[in-house]
């Protein structure tokens, strides 16, 4: 199922580009945002099928963005994958509780990332078994 739209939110432009290349190569359409406010407006405008969200962002962290997205009815059910360099011991649970589908720590293996995205989009599994 190619062509689904994914919004990537990350303030690091290089990381943003890398993810962009990786996801486009896998056939997804990509939209991107580099801060919290932009993330909300792009999400409203583009209505992505999934969002890859960093926690440390200018203008409000990932949790604020998530809360905002959850409160906007047309966007409330978009699956969110947290991709952050922050400590998973502290943040994984917090992210799941706030409604994230998964928490991935940077740097993430592309295979794992694509698996999680596919699952979030409800797509059938690829050849790889899910390993978490």
């Amino acid at each position: 199922m190619k062509g689904k739209k994914i919004l990537i939110v990350d303030d690091d432009k290089d990381v943003l580009l890398g993810l962009n290349v990786r996801l486009r190569a896998s056939g997804y359409t990509v939209a991107s945002a580099t801060d919290a406010i932009q993330a909300i407006s792009v999400a409203q405008q583009e209505k992505p099928d999934a969002i890859i969200l960093d926690i440390g962002l200018p203008g409000g962290d990932g949790f604020v963005v998530m809360e905002r997205l959850r409160s906007l009815i047309p966007l409330a059910h978009i699956p969110i994958i947290i991709l952050s360099g922050k400590d998973p011991i502290i943040n994984r649970e917090k992210a799941i509780n706030a409604g994230a589908q998964a928490f991935l720590q940077k740097p993430v293996d592309s295979v794992v990332l694509l698996q999680v995205i596919r699952k979030a989009l409800g797509e059938p599994k690829g050849q790889m078994q899910e390993k978490m």
Partner: protein
């Protein structure tokens, strides 16, 4: 009225006995030496008078002792010739010692002795008989008879006259003796008075001697005090003057005359009837003409102080009564000396104490630390100079908390209060603001006990620890800064690392066009280095956590087999090196009680190392089995066919910052943190980690983790006390998806969340445990075991329900849950080891429940 018995007053000896008894009694009552002597003297005097006059007398002595007033009642009844002694405690309380004397009849004693002839007949009867006779006789007969009777009467008159003369003589003698006795008694009384008021030894001795000469009709009297070696200590005399000097000279040389030597050896007085003619070695002779000398030792409570010598009229020299009185005076003088000695010793001790007290005071004032002593009511009874300086002057008599802390009640955690409670030393830190300056104190309190061991006060040492506290705070701040720094750097490094990682994999995956095999090789090197860097960053964070006490574990029910296969999976995904990774796990391996995230970390670290040091085509095996040495543990081992580790290094390999000498194929040493973290994590699980290795043949890292045991988990609640309560409640909480579907990672995280929520509900109670969390295909079930009745369990269930309803993670994961209660009776309290049986019963029951799910 306390009857103290009667003492028959028959003779002089019984007077002495009565006197001694009274003195002992007075000592027992602690009436004081002065009073006791006065009473004793009075008794002596009274007894003697009574004995002499035959008149009854009563003596009443009121004595104030502290706040109790004693009335000493002494009754003398001449018919029975005895003294009844009693003590009556009066209700009235007087301020001063009062001595009142009511000696009925004593003030006007008259010597009266009734003289009766047992043959004497009354005159009237006699006349009647004579009349009868007259009527019957003739004149001649009457004349003759009258003449005969007249002669008989004459005879009788002569006899009677002689008898009367005899009696008059006897009476005169008795009177003389009585007079002498009166003198003696006065002398005793004088000496006794002297003893009670004289605190100077010299004056006592001199006064005693003078008394003998003045009131007793002695021409001389002398006293010498000798020490235990017979050396002259002091002397006094009266009536001798210069004549005594030769004796003094003699005594100074230690040459005592025979009579003195003898007197020192015996308690009875030594009497020399005619000193002038019989004594050869006495240097005094001049005053003894016609008189005898008596010498007796001064003894009290077994101690001999010296000798007392007087001269007496020769006719009294052998009189037992006289000698016993003499002896009595000697004892009284010795008693006086004893009292003076006691007082002197007292004074000496007091002086020594004063010196010690001064020394201590100087010492205490010279201390750098503050020192206060408080009584049981926290009143300051002593403070040293540093305390006065630190807390603005003298606070003696004030409450400690008011003076030093400005409070109205005892400070929280006061070490003095603690010390009073358990009798041990306690230290507490305190912060005060003195003149706007914050000062930290370390207060150490030690109880002070009296001779009987009772705590009477408390010593408190106050040390200013502001400097130390500041340094500590600075250090803590610095340490905190370091931790913060490491944490931030580690996280910030991740962003560039991520970018490098992303583009390296993009290139490798050919997303930016085809690459040559050489380019591929180099890119793989880049990727490998990125992975190393990632591991280092992770290790750094982990060590930081360990150091700041945040390296916590959250142990739960874990299936080791599942966990190992999951980890192996991730390695197959990421490993490119040609090393064979296999497992060796027996079937039926018991579940472990561990934090799965941490076990994953330990195993990842060990497998990473094993792969790093194993050449291509080598093998890495992950094995596990029940630990043979301790079946409560599972032993997990990671073995490789690598280069092995040198014996010298094996000991230190788990140490902090230890870097391997023989590095991996890339020649890098690493941070030396990985194995240290492994060891810390294993230890936090209660296990141990060790290494077996053979050079060139490979290494085997083994560690143990506790086997999951319901019994161990239940141990905290299955106490004897709880078992007596009689029932255990098992709450079964099931978490499962609304629609039947396999569980996802999200589901697991959500049910973990639910587990935490339940845990949070029961957290404060020690009588509740969460023993088990087995996984089932259709959801997760866990149990709460609590020791309580059904109603308590329902209260807890209600609380858990309320909290689970609000758990968003469960809603988001679309999971629902149910709770049920099952009760288990534990009426096993009678048996010896009920807990084992009950544990078994609970385990069985939980097993049943698990099967029924």
């Amino acid at each position: 009225m306390i009857e103290l018995g009667t003492i028959p007053i028959k003779d002089k000896a019984s007077i002495v006995e009565a006197r001694n008894k009274i003195r002992l009694l007075a000592e027992d009552l602690e009436l004081g030496s002065i009073t006791s002597i006065r009473i004793a003297t009075m008794i002596s005097e009274l007894s003697r008078r009574m004995l002499a006059t035959g008149q009854p007398s009563v003596i009443k002595v009121a004595v104030d002792k502290g706040k109790e007033l004693f009335e000493l009642v002494l009754e003398f009844t001449p018919g029975q010739a005895c003294a009844a002694i009693g003590i009556k405690v009066l209700e009235a309380v007087f301020d001063n010692v009062k001595l009142s004397e009511k000696a009925d009849g004593v003030q006007s004693i008259k010597t009266s002795k009734v003289l009766l002839d047992p043959q004497f007949e009354p005159a009237e009867e006699f006349i009647e008989r004579e009349r009868g006779l007259l009527g019957r006789l003739t004149r001649e007969e009457l004349y003759l008879q009258l003449k005969e009777y007249s002669a008989h009467l004459e005879e009788r008159v002569e006899e009677r006259t002689a008898e009367l003369q005899q009696e008059i003589t006897e009476r005169k003698e008795a009177e003389a003796k009585l007079q002498q006795l009166s003198l003696v008694l006065r002398a005793i009384r004088n000496v006794d008075q002297l003893i009670t008021k004289e605190k100077d030894r010299g004056k006592l001795l001199k006064g005693s001697c003078d008394n003998f000469v003045e009131t007793r009709g002695c021409s001389n009297a002398w006293v010498t005090l000798l020490d235990e070696f017979g050396k002259l200590v002091a002397y006094a005399e009266s009536g001798l003057g210069k004549d005594f000097l030769p004796m003094v000279e003699l005594m100074k040389r230690g040459q005592l005359p025979t009579c003195m030597q003898r007197a020192l050896k015996q308690s009875a007085a030594v009497v020399t009837e005619a000193p002038v003619s019989t004594c050869t070695d006495c240097p005094i002779s001049i005053n003894y003409a016609g008189r005898s000398a008596a010498i007796v030792r001064l003894e009290y409570k077994g101690k001999v102080y010296g000798l007392l010598s007087i001269d007496v009229p020769r006719e009294l020299a052998t009189d037992a009564e006289e000698l016993s009185l003499f002896h009595e005076v000697a004892t009284d003088i010795a008693f006086g000396l004893y009292n003076i000695e006691l007082e002197e010793r007292h004074k000496q001790v007091e002086e020594v104490l004063q010196v010690e007290k001064n020394k201590l005071q100087s010492l205490v004032d010279a201390m750098a630390d503050g020192l206060t002593i408080q009584d049981r009511y926290y009143n300051i009874i002593h403070q040293n100079e540093p305390t006065r300086i630190a807390f603005g002057g003298d606070h003696l008599g004030e409450k400690c908390y008011r003076a030093y802390a400005g409070r109205e009640t005892v400070c929280d955690g006061c070490p003095v209060e603690e010390a009073f409670k358990d009798g041990k030393s306690h230290t507490a830190e305190r912060k005060t603001t003195i003149a706007g300056k914050v000062v930290f104190w370390a207060n150490t309190a030690s109880p002070i006990r009296d001779a009987s061991g009772e705590i009477v006060s408390c010593l408190e040492i106050t040390r200013d620890i502001t400097e130390r506290k500041r340094a500590e705070e600075a250090l803590i701040g610095l340490d905190h800064m370091k931790s913060e720094f490491i944490s931030r750097v580690s996280h910030e490094i991740r962003s560039p690392l991520t970018a490098i990682h992303q583009f390296a994999t993009i290139l490798l995956d050919g997303l930016a066009g085809d690459i040559s095999s050489e380019q591929r090789e180099y890119l793989e090197i880049v990727l490998r280095n990125i992975n190393q860097l990632r591991v280092m960053v992770n290790d750094l964070l982990e060590v930081n956590r360990a150091e700041t006490g945040r390296l916590t574990i959250n142990p739960r029910y874990v299936s080791l087999a599942e966990l190992v296969s999951e980890i192996i999976g991730t390695f197959r995904v990421t490993t490119t090196k040609g090393v064979l990774l296999t497992t060796d796990l027996p079937k039926g391996l018991p579940p472990i009680r561990a934090d799965p995230d941490r076990v994953r970390e330990i195993l990842t670290n060990l497998i990473d190392n094993a792969i790093k040091f194993t050449p291509e085509k080598g093998r890495v095996v992950i094995g596990a089995e029940v630990y043979k040495r301790n079946p409560n543990f599972v032993c997990v081992a990671v073995s490789d066919t690598g280069c092995g580790i040198h014996p010298k290094e094996r000991k230190r390999i788990f140490e902090y910052l230890h870097q391997a000498q023989n590095s991996g194929v890339d020649g890098r040493k690493g941070l030396g943190l990985g194995l240290y973290i492994c060891r810390e994590l294993v230890r936090r699980h209660g296990g141990r980690i060790w290494l077996e290795s053979e050079l060139e043949h490979g290494s085997k890292f083994s560690f143990t983790l506790p086997i999951y045991s319901v019994a161990n988990s239940l141990a905290p609640i299955l106490t004897e006390k709880n078992l007596w309560i009689g029932s255990i409640a098992i709450l079964t909480i099931k978490v499962f998806p609304i629609k039947e579907r396999p569980l996802t990672v999200t589901d697991k995280i959500a049910s973990q969340k639910a587990w935490d929520v339940v845990n949070g509900c029961i957290f404060p109670s020690k009588d509740v445990v969460l023993p088990i969390m087995p996984q089932t295909q259709l959801g997760e079930v866990f149990y709460v075991v609590m020791c309580a009745d059904h109603r308590d369990a329902e209260v807890l269930v209600r609380r858990i329900r309320d909290h689970l309803k609000r758990c968003e993670a469960l809603h988001n994961a679309r999971l629902k849950w149910t709770i049920s209660i099952s009760m288990l009776e534990t009426a096993l309290a009678g048996s010896d080891e009920p807990s084992k049986e009950v544990v078994k019963k609970v385990e069985d029951r939980i097993e049943e429940l698990v099967k029924s799910v």
